[in-house]
């Protein structure tokens, strides 16, 4: 169950566009819209990695 939540989180975070469709706050010159989506890349990798670990334990 936890595994399914890990794998569904990126869908929720990225497909609900109004959540991040804005210019501010800016980080390193990147508007929020851009750095928020970039940030999801390592987060998604980590979530999949955790799901992978759980698979191997069971």
């Amino acid at each position: 169950m936890k595994k399914a939540i890990f794998l569904l989180l990126p869908f929720a975070g990225l497909l609900w566009v109004p959540l991040y469709n804005r210019h501010d706050p800016v980080l390193f010159g990147f508007p929020f819209f851009y750095w928020y989506q970039f940030a999801w890349v390592p987060v998604t990798s980590a979530l999949i990695w955790m799901a992978w670990k759980m698979d191997r334990q069971s």
Binding site: L14, L15, W16, N21, F33, Y34, V41, T44, S45, I48
Partner: protein, 502 residues
């Protein structure tokens, strides 16, 4: 092209050298590979297995390069920046697409790999035929794969053509060079050619992209200044938003439909099925997102082009023109070779995947002849050439999205078929027919535009055509499936055993 810069001979020589060297290295792989690796030379597969699936022996690294390599293509380096250049933040939907695709792969593909390995299947159509015991469904899935890959290869040909045009060639010659190099490369090399040259290609693309994302902002006064200056060239979006209100739903639905479609294609599935184990795929789902960072940075080139003052009416020329404006000409030539090879490798894997479909699933008798596969692959490339010439898409990316509309119609049979839903084959076939006709019909009416406006219960928005057609497909499949089961009194003997087994 309004501000086109004419490159000098240095650019052309470096381009020719790098491009030709890669083609020769890749297509002669069978001659020099045994010299490097004597152990592998001992294991012999049939020639067809070797040409088509690389012997199902690729480990984590090769799979990473192969899957990543045929996933990130001219789509990434030409089509996405072109869309970003023309529409701003909207073109960035490729980023969420290439993120959410990985949890999807992780959850679904190991299961599909296991089924394929156990049954000795090489294509999606093989898997579906064994599972539902339906030759019609096999044909449907194979046809979708074949037709969907044509516009996608067309996009790669456009990518190669674009850089050759940027080198100063005009008329039909660039397209001709693109086609001939692709045909020669695939004919000679088979799947081992792309798997190994994917490595060279990735290194070249990384060098080009790293140079671009570091040097261009320095040239333009930092990322902040770059974003600010680019915004001045794009339509104003009110309320501090980046994507206009009417584009929010298209943004999300295009990302979702692209993610669902991405690994249904024969070429991407080839990369998955050629993996050594199910765990190789899971492991890859963790590390493949590294490519997504690169994709996002490349997408930003579309904005950088505005900041650098590139003005062009042919949006595909955005990246080549930016490179010519910013880099010394020899390095621009190197980057162009990276783009061309980056289009060549996946186009070759696509042609092989489609050739496998023709040989295994579409022709009435299974054939293992390598010459046959090569001829089929050549036919596929001719079809793609036809798409370049006859389909008049506003953006190159529309071709990839058109492929998505077609391939998404195999989703119910291939992916929902993994669920214990007991879907009868006739229902799946009916869903496929109606979904495909609806999707292609809408694309035709909308002039290849990938979104279609819908209004429902006071809510109106443009939704990805592929997702709409898939929705229709699933609704028909489930409804008809329920009707068939009721009509047959749900007697277990009337359902194929394959559809019940999990």
């Amino acid at each position: 092209m309004n501000t086109s810069i004419v490159p000098d001979n240095a650019a052309i020589s470096v381009f020719v050298l790098c491009f030709v060297a890669t083609i020769v290295l890749g297509s002669t792989v069978r001659l020099w590979r045994p010299l490097l690796n004597r152990r592998k030379a001992a294991t012999r597969h049939t020639e067809g297995e070797e040409w088509g699936l690389g012997g199902r022996e690729f480990g984590a690294w090769v799979t990473w390069f192969l899957v990543g390599g045929d996933f990130y293509t001219a789509y990434t380096v030409i089509a996405v920046p072109a869309l970003v250049y023309s529409t701003g933040g909207f073109g960035f939907f490729a980023l969420p697409y290439t993120i959410i695709v990985y949890p999807f792969i992780f959850a679904v593909m190991p299961r599909l790999w296991t089924i394929a390995r156990d049954g000795g299947h090489a294509t999606a159509a093989d898997i579906v035929r064994a599972r539902f015991g339906s030759r019609t469904l096999e044909l449907a899935v194979a046809l979708s794969g074949l037709v969907a890959v044509l516009p996608y290869i067309a996009l790669q040909l456009i990518g190669i053509r674009t850089v050759i045009e940027a080198l100063g060639f005009t008329g039909m010659l660039p397209l001709l060079i693109a086609f001939v190099s692709l045909a020669a490369y695939t004919w000679l090399g088979g799947l081992h050619a792309p798997a190994l040259t994917a490595f060279i290609k990735d290194v070249m693309i990384y060098i080009a992209v790293l140079a671009a994302v570091i040097l261009v902002p320095i040239h333009l006064g930092g990322y902040g200044a770059m974003f600010h200056s680019a915004a001045g060239h794009l339509p104003d979006v009110p309320d501090g938003h980046i994507v206009a209100q009417g584009q929010v739903v298209p943004y999300a639905t295009l990302a979702l439909s692209s993610a669902f479609a991405a690994f249904l294609y024969p070429h991407t599935l080839t990369g998955i099925l050629a993996a050594r184990s199910a765990d190789t795929i899971r492991q890859n789902a963790v590390f493949l997102p590294a490519y997504t960072i690169v994709l996002g940075l490349i997408a930003l080139l579309g904005l950088m082009a505005h900041a650098a003052g590139i003005v062009t009416t042919s949006s595909s020329q955005v990246v080549p023109q930016l490179f010519l404006a910013i880099f010394p000409s020899w390095f621009a030539g190197f980057c162009f070779a990276a783009i061309a090879v980056g289009a060549l490798v996946p186009a070759s894997v696509m042609a092989i995947g489609a050739a496998n479909l023709i040989m295994h699933n579409i022709l009435p008798h299974r054939s293992e002849s390598v010459t046959g596969s090569r001829l089929a692959g050549f036919g596929v490339k001719v079809g793609a050439l036809g798409c370049v010439i006859f389909l008049n898409a506003r953006f190159a990316i529309d071709l990839q999205l058109l492929g998505g509309v077609i391939i998404l119609q195999t989703f119910p049979a291939l992916i929902m078929g993994l669920l214990p839903l007991r879907l009868p084959a006739p229902a799946l076939v009916a869903g496929w027919v109606i979904g495909s006709v609806a999707g292609l019909g809408l694309c035709w009416i909308d002039g290849l535009k990938p979104v279609h406006p819908v209004a429902f219960a006071g809510f109106s928005a443009s939704v990805s055509t592929g997702l709409l057609a898939l929705g229709i497909n699933i609704a028909v499949t489930l409804t008809l499936g329920a009707v068939i089961r009721l009509a047959l009194g749900a007697s277990p003997s009337t359902l194929r055993p394959g559809s019940i087994r999990r």
